[in-house]
Amino acid sequence: MTFDEGQGYIVLATLAAPLLAALIILFIPSEQKMAIRYVSAFFAAVMLGLSIYIFVAYQVDGEKIQMTLKWVWVENTAFLGKDGITLHLAVDGISAPMALLTGIVAFAGTITSWKLNYRPKDFFILYFTLLAGVYGTFFSFDLFFFFFFYELAVMPLYLLIGVWGSTRKEYGALKLTMMLVGGSVLIWIGIFAVFHEANLGTFDMQRLFAAGNDGTLSPTFQKVFFPMICIGCGVLAALWPFHTWSPDGHMAAPTAVSMVHAGVLMKLGAFGIIRLGIQMLPVGAEFWMPGLMVLGVIGALYGATAALTQRDFKLISGYSSVSHMGYVLMGLATMNQIGVTGAVLQMFSHGVMTALVFLLIGALYDQAHTRDLKDFGGITKVMPVWVVFYTIAGLANVGLPGLSGFTAEFHIFVGTFRAYPVFGALAIVAAALAAGYMLRMFAIVFFGPFNIRWKDLKDLTPLETMAGGLLIASIVLMGVWWAPFTDRIGQTVAAIPGVIG
C-alpha cells in the first residue's frame, strides 16, 4: 500500500463516518436521547478531525488529485466497459477546503442540535445521511457516484424541514425538494448525454474531463449541454431566477439544517458547475460564461435589495445567501485564475458565516419564538455575547478586511474587473447594499430602545458559544491568513483548461 492509497482510506473514512453514525443511531432505542447525542457529537468530532487532516495533508506541490481510492463497482457489463462505475474518491485543491468547511459546519450544527428534544433519533439519522451525501459529492471522481451522493444530500431535506421545521414548513419543504430535484432532472439528462456522446464505457470523471478537452465531446455538444448542467446545478446554488426555494426553505428549516444547508449544501451546486460544467465541458463553459455572469450579477443585486426590505431574520439571511452565491457564480464566470479562486474562497467564507448567522438566529428564536426584527430592540443589554458574534458574522458578510468575506470578495472583484469591468462595478454596488441591510438590522435589533418583553432572554449556552467560536475562528483565520486556501485552490484552478492566468 502506497502512501497515497493510505491517504485514500482516510478520505473513505471521512465519507463512511456519517454513514456509520446514522447506522449506529438506527440501533439505539429512541428513548436513549443522551446516548444518541453523545454518539452524534463523537462522530461529528471525528469528521471534523478527518476533514482538518485532509485539508492539512493536501500537498500543494503534489499531484493534481491526491488521496485516491478506487474501488471497482460494476464493470464489463452491457454498456459499461473497464472501470465502468468505480467508487473513485480523491481530493483536489477545491474539494480540500470544501471538506474542511463540511467538517466545521457539521460539527457546529451537531452540537447546536444538542437541545433538540423532538425525535432526535430520526433527526440525526437523516442529518448524518445528508452529510454523507455532501462529503461524497466533494470526494467523488466518478460521475455515477457524484450524482448518487448529490441526490443523497438533497433527499433527507424534505423530512428534516417538514418534521422539525417552523414557519410554513410543509410548503417550504415541498418547494425546496421539488425545485432541487427538478434541477437534478437537467443534470440527469446531461449525464446520460455525456456518457453516450463520449462513448468510453466509463463514468470515470478524469477520463470524461479528458474527453471534454480533446474534442471527443464535440464543441456543439458542449454548447448544447452546458446550460442544462449549469442550470441544473445552479438551482442548488440559488442561481437567479431559480433561487426562490432558498428564502422559503431557509425560513422553514430547523437551525442545524439551515446551517448545513446554507453553509454547505448550496456549495454543492457551485461545485457541480465547476466539476460537471467547467472541467467536463470547457468549450461550452467558455461559450456560456457571459450568460452566467449576467445571472450572477442579477442574483447578487437582487438578493441584496430584497434583504434590505425584509423583517424576518431568516429571510434576510436567505436573501443575503442568494446575493453571496451570486458572487460565487460571478467568480466562476470570470474564467480567470483569480476570479475562480475567489469563487471557491467565497464558497468557504459564505459557508462558515452563514452557518454562524443561522446558529445565532436559532438561539434567539428558540427563546423568543419570533423572528420579526420590529419586535426586538436593545438586545445588547441581555445577550452581549450573541450580539458580538452576530456583529462578527455580519461584518464578514459585508466584507470587512480581516474577516473571510473580504478575502473572498476581493478576489472575485479583481477577477470580475479584469474580465467584465462593468459587472465589477455592479458587484461593488451589491457589496454596498450588503452593508445597508446588515447595519439596518444591527440598528433595529441590537440598539434602539430596549423592549421590556425580552428581559428574560438568556445569552448563548456554552455549547452554542463553542460552536460559534469555532465558526468565528474559521472566519478570522481565512481573513488574516488565506495562503493555505489560495495555494490549494489556485493549484487546481490553474490546471483547469479554459481558465486564464
Binding site: K82, G182, V185
Partner: protein, 496 residues
C-alpha cells in the same frame, strides 16, 4: 429428439399446485396459513431447480420453447414473486375465504405461464401461455366473490382482456398471412424476404399486436382496466398483478420483438416510442390525483411501464449492441421494480389487515404508530422515484443509459422529467406518515413476525440492489444475451 427435461422446474411448480389443492381436499381441516407457506416452499423448490439451468447451452423444444438464460431469469423472478405473494396472502386470506387451496394453486400456475411467455419462440405457444396467465389472474382478481368491488374488477378485467386477446390474435393471423410462419425465426425470415417497403397490412399487424401486449402490461391508452382491477382485487393479488403480470408481458414483448420483428423495426419502433411517452406521462399525471393507495400504485406502475417501454423502442432504433445494453437495463430495472413493489405491498397488506384502511389519508401518523412499516413504505416509494441507496436509483441509471441513443434522448429526458413528477405524489404519501400526528384513538401496534421478516427481507433486497447492483446487472446481461446473438461486447472492447 424431444427433450422433456427442460420442463423439470415447471413440472415441480405445476405438480406442487396440484399438491396444494389435494392437501386441502384430503385434509379439509388444514390451517389456511399452512397452505400459503406450503406454496411458498414450492416456489422456493421451483426456484432452486431453476438454478441448475443457469449458464447451460440453450435448449429448444421443437423450436417452440427455448430454455436459455432469458427463460431462467424469468423462472427465478416468477418463483420469487410467487413465494413473496403467497406469504403475504397468508394473513390476508385467512378470514376472507373458505377455499384457499385453489387460490394458492393458481399462483403457482400463473408463475408457470409467465415462464412460458418468456420461453415461447412461436406465436401460438406465446398466445396460449398469455391466456393461461390471464385466466389465472381473472379468477384471482375476483376471488373475493362476496365483495362487490372484487367481482366488478374481475368482470371488467375479463371483458377488456378478452377484447385485447382478440386483437392480439388478429394481429398474429395477419402476420401469419404475410410471412407464412408462426415461429419467431420463420417470421423473421419472412419479414426479411418481404423487403423494406411499408404496406398497410404489416403496420396493422404490428399495431394490433402492440395493442394486445400493451393491454397486458397496461400501457396507456390500454390501461383503463388497471386501476379498477388493482383497486378491487385482494391486496396480495394487486401486488401479483403489478409484478408478475408486467414481468410476463415484458418477457413476451422482449423475445417477440427482438427476435422475430427486429428486422422490420422501422415499421413499429415509432409506435413504441410514442406508446412509452404517452404511458409514462399519463400514468404519472393521473397518479397525482389519486386518494386510494391501490389506485395510486396502479398509476405509478403505469408510469414505470412507460420507462420500460423505452427499451423496446431502443431495440428498434439501435443495432444489436444497443439492444443488448437496453435489454440488460430493462431486466435489472424489472428486478428492482418487482422487489420494491413487493416490499411496498408487504407493508400495505400488513397495515390493511390491522386497520382496514387503503387510502393515502389512512396512513396518517404511521411513523408514530408503526415506524417500521413507515420505513418500508418510504424505502419502496423512494426506490420507485429513483433516489440513491435504493434499487430505483441504480436500475434507472442502467435502464435510461442503456436506452440512450441519438434518436431517443428526448424520450429519456421525458422519462427523467416523469420520475421527478412521480416524486411529488410519493412525497404526498410520505407526508401523511411523517408530518402528521395519528388520528385520535390510533396507538402503537405490533405486527406479526412473519410479515415483519418478509417486509424486512424485501426492504434489504431493495437496499442490496441499490448499493451493490453489479451481480444483478451481470445476470441481467447474461439473460439478455440469447436475444442478441450478434451483439458485440461494447464498453469492454473499447477499453484501452
Amino acid at each position: 429428439m424431444r427433450d422433456y427435461t427442460i420442463f423439470i422446474p415447471e413440472y415441480i411448480a405445476a405438480g406442487w399446485a396440484i399438491l396444494v389443492i389435494a392437501v386441502e381436499l384430503f385434509f379439509p381441516r388444514v390451517r389456511r396459513d399452512g397452505l400459503a407457506y406450503l406454496t411458498a416452499l414450492g416456489a422456493l423448490v421451483w426456484g432452486i431447480s431453476a438454478l441448475f439451468f443457469i449458464g447451460k447451452t440453450p435448449q429448444s423444444f421443437q423450436g417452440l420453447i427455448e430454455s436459455d438464460n432469458f427463460t431462467t431469469y424469468f423462472r427465478l423472478l416468477a418463483a420469487g414473486i410467487v413465494a413473496a405473494v403467497s406469504i403475504m396472502s397468508a394473513s390476508y386470506m385467512r378470514g376472507r375465504t373458505k377455499a384457499a387451496a385453489e387460490y394458492y394453486g393458481l399462483l403457482l400456475i400463473a408463475g408457470c405461464a409467465t415462464v412460458y411467455m418468456a420461453a415461447a419462440r412461436e406465436l401460438i405457444t406465446a398466445y396460449i401461455s398469455l391466456e393461461l396467465l390471464s385466466f389465472c389472474l381473472y379468477i384471482l382478481v375476483g376471488y373475493l366473490k362476496r365483495d362487490a368491488r372484487s367481482s366488478e374488477a374481475a368482470l371488467k378485467y375479463i371483458l377488456l382482456g378478452a377484447f385485447s386477446s382478440a386483437m392480439f390474435l388478429y394481429g398474429m393471423s395477419l402476420l401469419y398471412g404475410l410471412t407464412g410462419s408462426t415461429t419467431y425465426d420463420g417470421i423473421s425470415a419472412g419479414l426479411a424476404a418481404r423487403g423494406s417497403s411499408t404496406d398497410a397490412g404489416i403496420v396493422v399487424a404490428f399495431v394490433l399486436i402492440l395493442a394486445g401486449v400493451g393491454f397486458k402490461v397496461s400501457a396507456a391508452p390500454f390501461h383503463m382496466w388497471a386501476p379498477d382491477a388493482y383497486e378491487g382485487a385482494p391486496m396480495p393479488i394487486t401486488a401479483f398483478l403489478s409484478t408478475l403480470s408486467k414481468a410476463a408481458g415484458f418477457a413476451l414483448i422482449l423475445r417477440l420483438f427482438s427476435v422475430a420483428f427486429v428486422v422490420d423495426a422501422a415499421e413499429w419502433r415509432w409506435a413504441f416510442a410514442l406508446l412509452a411517452a404517452v404511458t409514462m406521462t399519463a400514468g404519472n399525471l393521473i397518479a397525482i390525483q389519486q386518494t386510494n393507495l391501490k389506485r395510486l400504485v396502479a398509476y405509478s406502475s403505469i408510469g414505470q411501464v412507460g420507462y420500460m417501454l423505452i427499451t423496446i423502442a431502443a431495440i428498434g432504433y439501435g443495432d444489436q449492441t444497443v439492444g443488448l445494453n437496453a435489454t440488460s437495463g430493462l431486466l435489472i430495472h424489472l428486478i428492482g421494480y418487482v422487489v420494491s413493489t413487493l416490499a411496498l405491498f408487504a407493508a400495505l397488506t400488513t397495515y390493511y389487515n390491522k386497520t382496514g384502511k387503503d387510502t393515502v389519508e389512512g396512513l396518517r401518523g404511521l411513523a408514530e404508530t408503526q415506524p417500521f412499516l413507515a420505513v418500508v413504505i418510504t424505502v419502496s416509494l423512494f426506490s420507485f422515484a429513483g433516489l440513491p441507496f435504493f434499487a430505483g436509483f441504480a436500475t434507472k441509471v442502467f435502464l435510461f443509459q442503456g436506452a440512450t441513443t441519438d434518436e431517443l434522448l428526448w424520450l429519456v429526458g421525458l422519462a427523467v422529467l416523469n420520475s421527478f413528477i412521480s416524486l411529488y405524489y410519493y412525497l404526498m404519501v410520505i407526508r401523511q406518515m411523517y408530518l402528521f400526528d395519528p388520528v385520535a384513538g390510533m396507538t402503537r401496534f405490533k405486527i406479526s413476525p412473519v410479515m415483519w421478516v418478509l417486509s424486512a427481507g424485501l426492504m434489504l433486497g431493495v437496499l442490496f440492489i441499490g448499493i451493490y447492483p453489479g451481480p444483478a446487472f451481470k445476470a441481467a446481461e447474461n439473460a439478455a444475451k440469447p436475444l442478441f446473438q450478434q451483439a458485440e461486447p461494447s464498453g469492454a472492447a473499447r477499453a484501452p
